[in-house]
Amino acid sequence: MKVAVKGTSYCLNHTPELAFHYGNTPYVERKTKGDSEFLRELASHLQSYARAASYAPNLAYIGAMGLDELEKYPQPWLENLAAEPARYGRFGEIMPEDEFLGLMDISDVFDIIWLEENFSAAVAEKLRKNPVIPETLLGRLEKGHALQEIEREVSEKDALPLYFESKVVGCSRKGHEIDECLEAYVLLENVACKAGGVLALLHLLRNTGLKPEEIDFVIECSEEAAGDMNQRGGGNFAKAVAEIAGCVNASGCDVRGFCAGPVNAVIAAGSQVAAGARKNCVVLAGGAIPKLFMNSRDHVKKGLPALEDCLGNFAILLGEEDGVSPVIRLDALGKHSVGAGASPQAITSALVWEPLQKLGLGFNDVDKYAAELQNPEITLPAGAGDVPAANFKMIGALAVMKGQLEKSQIPEFVRQKGIPGFVHTQGHIPSGVPFVGHACEWIKAGTIRRALIIGKGSLFLARMTNLSDGASFFIEPAEAVKSTQAVSREDIKRLLLEVLSEVASSLKAE
């Protein structure tokens, strides 16, 4: 009941102009109030790519900085940028906006994205230098359209303009005359999510050395809905992403659950592998355009840069145990059930205490907990608090209630067992899974032996239930699992033989 984490990838797409025009907060402001003072002010708070690629939490996300290094890094992080920007890290990259618009066009199979011809040519040259983008994909980039054609599509056919350096460089077109599920905004959001998933998958293939055709199944777990007016969320992103990345032997499906989606998707994929149904399963997600600049009103008010300017993507490869790759325990999963209750202690109990009990462990047997991992420099100015710290304190408080920790030890427990929030407020992205890459590195290095990954999803936002959801899983070293397996099989067999041999000897003696 274990599955190996064979590899991970984590990428950001730095998209301040998509954020400025189509992030939900500025988009709704523009629709309802026109050119407001907030929007005029927001325009001067956009960050450059160089700043975003020098920002310590972003570097930690792509693996250009360790989490231990981030913990010691001088704060505030936004005033202590790294000496040099880093585009690539051990897990992935921070892709600039012009190249990401190009990747969106590459990922588009319905001629939704149009790019201006000179812009497209310039982007092609830049994408050619990207080590994960093969020539076959570059061949999918359109030659482009004349600017007048794009302007006509915007003014006459409800297309949405795409910008780079404040100039129109393309547009996102609608997919149907009257279907609201296929209007230009929805398709822009969905193509961006798909392109982010493609980038994460390409980096995952590079990080693991796997060929695209070796992938058997993809589970996508973003928060977007692909469908039409007859089936709003019919799906699916997974197979669409696999197609672009050349995974010809893969199929796929989508798993949803707000921020609990990724953890539930890992469990779903891991279970398929452990059951022997499929060999190499990928869990992935692209980012959410509407979440960009979500808290920008507060960032502007407080004179801060509009920090929520990156789409977040990730991909995780799950496969059979190999004795090297860290493993996920499928025999001790956390589940926030319908009847578990909504209080913080009930939720934490379901996601932490109950899986610990399944393994006969205590709170101190976990070296690192990873719940919501939002960057506090984004959330604190908006009044949403330090979400990771709040979650770690709640786990500590539950340990006190269970008599496993003194109340006075909570701050030290949080310091030792928690990790700094380093992830963009991209909904499903911060929920536990960004730690999987770092956790696997630490487990392989022997720095930690066990991590608990926790996802919590706000189901109530969809107005179908008042409940939230949650799920969790442990990651442990491969070696420990091997020795546990030996105890359950070989050792017991040997023990039985010894006992039988003793019985036989005693019978002979009689």
Binding site: F258, G341, A342, S343, K456, S458, F460, S468
Partner: protein
């Protein structure tokens, strides 16, 4: 029955703090009239 008896109460919960249903459970025997309860997510 406490000092909230007969009072109209609006509950605004937060997912990573105290959710609405948890506050409703606490006020169950207070005699308060819960006219609105919601949980929101601010991240």
């Amino acid at each position: 029955m406490g000092r909230l008896a007969g009072k109209k109460v609006v509950l605004l919960g937060e997912r990573d703090g105290v959710p609405g249903p948890a506050m409703e459970a606490c006020l169950k025997n207070s005699g308060a009239d819960i006219v609105f309860s919601v949980t929101e997510c601010f991240v």
